[in-house]
Structure formats: C-alpha cells, structure tokens
Subunit: 164 residues, 2 copies
DNA sequence: ATGCAGTTTCTGTATTGTCAACTACTGTTG
DNA sequence: CAACAGTAGTTGACAATACAGAAACTGCAT
C-alpha cells in the first residue's frame, strides 16, 4: 500500500514496508515450510503423494462425491496440468474410478472407490498431527482464529466461479 | 462442521471443527490459488519461472549476497531437490554465477550477476501488482496485520536452525 | 442434415523434479 | 601420514509435470 510507485531501482526488490506483502510472505513461507515437513512423512506413513491426497480429498468434498477432470484441474492445489495422467496413476492404484458422464460422451467423472476412501482417511490421520505440530502449535488461539477468518475466502469460494 | 472430537471414522476426514485446521486450510488454499495466477503471469511478463525467482531473491536476501548450494536447498520454497540443476539453468541464463568457496574446495558459492539482479527487480516489479490484487486487496488492513503478525515466524527464523 | 465454433479429454514431446549412487574433498583418529 | 567416516556437490536413471496439438464429442447455426 505504502510503496509509492517505483520499487524498481531501490535497494530492496521486496517492498518490505507494505503490510499486505508481509502477510503474503507469511502465507507463502508457512505453506512451503509446513508442506516440506508434511510431504515426506505422508509418503512414508501412508504411501500417498500430496497430489494424490489432493485429488482424493477434493473428490470427498465434492457435493456428489464425483468430479470431472476439468473440475479436478480447477480445484487442484498442486498440479496445474497433467490431470489426465495423475488420475491415471491414482486409478491404477485402485483409489479412484473413471465413469462415463450420463449426458455427455466426451466427459469423464472420477469417483472414489472404497479403497480410495480408506486411504484418504488413513492419509489424513497420518499427517494431521504433523500439521498441528508444525503449524497449529506455533500460533495462539487468537492467531489461529484471525488467520482462519482472514483467509476463509480463499477456500470457501468455488474456483470454477471467477469470483465476484 | 460440528463434529466433537473423533475425526477418525466420521463422515469427514477433515476435522473441520478445529481452529488450527481452518487456519492451515486458509494458508494452503491462499498460497496455491494466488500462485496459480501469479506464476503464468510472471513467466509471460518477466520470463522467469517461480523457482528461479526464489533462487534469485534468496541470494538477494542473503547477508553476503552469496549462498552455498545446500543453503539454497534449505531455504528454497518450491524445489526440494535438484538444486544443482536448477542452479545450472539459472547460471546458463547468466543470472547467477558459481564461485569457489575460499576455505573449502568441495563447496560452491552461488552469486547474483548484475543481469540477475536486474531480472530480479523486473520480476518483482512485474508480479507485485498481481499479488496485491489477488491477495492484498481481498483482506482488510486489520486482517493483513493479523496474518502478517501470526505468520511472521515462518519466514523470519532461519531454516538452517532447527528452530527453538 | 451439414458445417463449424466451442468443449472435454487424451497423446506426444520436452522440461523439470526425484532418488540413489558416485566423486571429490574435509577433518579426525590411530 | 594413512585410513576412514562424514560432508558437498554432481551425475544418471527414472517419474512427474508442462505445453501444444490431436481426437472425439456437443450445440447451434445454417
């Protein structure tokens, strides 16, 4: 906010004086640092890479428990492209299943299998304590509430909608 | 949402009732969603992939303007391994330079070139407005302050130190 | 019907990331 | 000083990802 208009040839490429940038930096570093601890543990304890867990939980959270490839792509947190092949791998592991879309013969619906639902729960059970230790316990309750409240909009709104 | 305390075999794999998890989800989704908008723009406008900018700015922020490969690896936000090759590419683009470490003949110091410093500034100038629009403007000033304050610990402390 | 722009997913290919050896060097120990 | 465990960085084999274009289908306009 405060940096006037030319952060160009200063001595700092980061406008350290602006509040929103400090907030952004906190968000960026927090997610990166926590994920770097969580990811190896998740693979070791539950045998699920992070992108798989993402697909699994997006499906679980979907209203009908089923999502099309492009919907998965829009909601995905880690993989931007290559959803076809990511689903290939998860399907080959038996955690997910492709089904035809009733009215549209080019589309594909992806659905959780019972095994997929089971692995999803295992995965969450395995890595929730780590997230609590690495993230939750470093914040006071007031800070947790403030962050949750401030950032709720980023996961609450539908990524398919281009936002208001 | 309201499930009391046994997130295990409920109908929700996510213990939606705990505050720290909502905070974490906010952080995770905010960083992912913002990055998904920022990254293509950064490549289009400044020709720098996000991991490059990360390397460049870590070097810029380093006390002596120089970092060893393993220090880059420890501080890196996006790339966990393969720092050798990432530095290869950035070096080949002329933005960075390898230099021998005075007292240690196996080590390598990575230093910004003038061209690298220039591209770093261009990159930041290019994508700061986008971050402000996608992130900063979605938060009130109080929320910005709260988030910045709550998450300051994640980027302020040295990743080399295993933290207190 | 036929054609055609728009869509949904898949495939080919290049690039990037991951994991496990491997080389070169350091500092310590006998 | 010779041996050796530990460290720094690189390399090679392989998996995952990105991007462009192809194939199949839809809905609307002729």
């Amino acid at each position: 906010m405060s940096s006037s208009g030319m952060p160009k040839q200063n001595d700092e490429p980061t406008p350290t004086d602006s509040l929103w940038f400090d907030a952004w930096r906190g968000v960026l570093y927090a997610s990166a640092r926590v994920l770097h601890v969580v990811e190896p543990d998740l693979i070791a304890k539950a045998g699920i890479p992070l992108p798989w867990l993402d697909v699994l939980s997006q499906l679980f959270d979907a209203p009908d428990g089923r999502l099309r490839i492009q919907e998965l792509q829009a909601r995905a947190l880690f993989t931007r492209s290559g959803m076809t092949r990511l689903v290939d791998r998860v399907e080959q592991a038996g955690l997910v299943q492709r089904e035809p879309v009733p009215g549209d013969r080019r589309g594909v619906q992806v659905v959780l299998t019972p095994a997929g639902r089971k692995r999803l729960h295992e995965g969450f059970a395995a890595h929730l304590p780590i997230i609590e230790r690495e993230f939750g316990q470093r914040l006071t309750v007031e800070q947790q509430r403030a962050v949750a409240d401030a950032l709720a909009g980023f996961w609450h709104d539908d990524p398919a909608e281009p936002e208001a």
